[in-house]
Structures are given as C-alpha cells and as structure tokens.
Point group: C2
C-alpha cells in the first residue's frame, strides 16, 4: 500500500465507525494536529503514531509480500 492508500484506509475506517478526528485523537493519544496532518495527506508519521491510530480503529500495521507480476 502506498502512502495515499494508507491514508484512505484510515479515513474510510474512521468514517465507517463514525468517529471524528477529535475523538480519534483523544482515544489514540495522538495530537489532533498530527492526525489532521496525516489524513490530509501531508504527513510522514512515525510507526508509533500509525500504530496508535490504527489500533483504535481495529486495524494493524503489517508487512506483507508484494505481489509480483504473475504472482497476483
């Protein structure tokens, strides 16, 4: 997943759960400014920040093998 996809996933998940940025910020312990920055696609969050946000949304950061051409 590229950066934009990660952002999109977070946003969509937050929308699905009907949580505002403000609430998510509080629940995750991540600053509201940081969350806004990230969701507007202008961030480069640390792994910890990503994990805190993902966690609250029932998501997790993982590493998976890239699908190769023909390995699809």
């Amino acid at each position: 997943m590229h950066f934009d996809e990660l952002v999109k996933t977070i946003k969509e998940r937050r929308d699905t759960l009907q949580v505002t940025q403000e609430t998510l910020a509080q629940l995750s312990g991540v600053g509201l400014r940081t969350l806004k920055q990230f969701e507007s696609g202008r961030g480069n969050p640390t792994l910890q920040t990503m994990q805190k946000i993902a966690d609250v949304l029932g998501l997790e950061v993982s590493l998976k093998l890239k699908s190769m051409p023909g390995n699809k």
Copy 2:
C-alpha cells in the same frame, strides 16, 4: 503486527535474500545508522523510512483488520 514482529519480519526477509545491512542501506537510500537502529529494536522509524526498506525487500507496509476473538 507489533513493533518487534515488524522488525523480525524485516530481518528475516533480509537474511533470506542474503543482503547485508550495508547493502540494504545503499539500495534503499536509508542511512546505515538508521537501519541498524531499527533492526536492533530501538527505533521509531517514519513511515517513509519503513517503506523504503520494505520496498527493496519486496515487502510492503499495509493496514489490515485486526482479528477479533471469534473472527480468527
């Protein structure tokens, strides 16, 4: 995946591909010190850094739904 698992995944993948930290650093454009720090479990890399490293190893950073109890 928790932090330690992410680290382990990167390390194992690098071992599998028989790439040294030095080579991986060069190929990914990530500083050797940063890579060492990360692999020794003492880092908090930015998403970009993670992606650069993962990329070279044929891995990608992704977000997946956490498995819930009973959703296993």
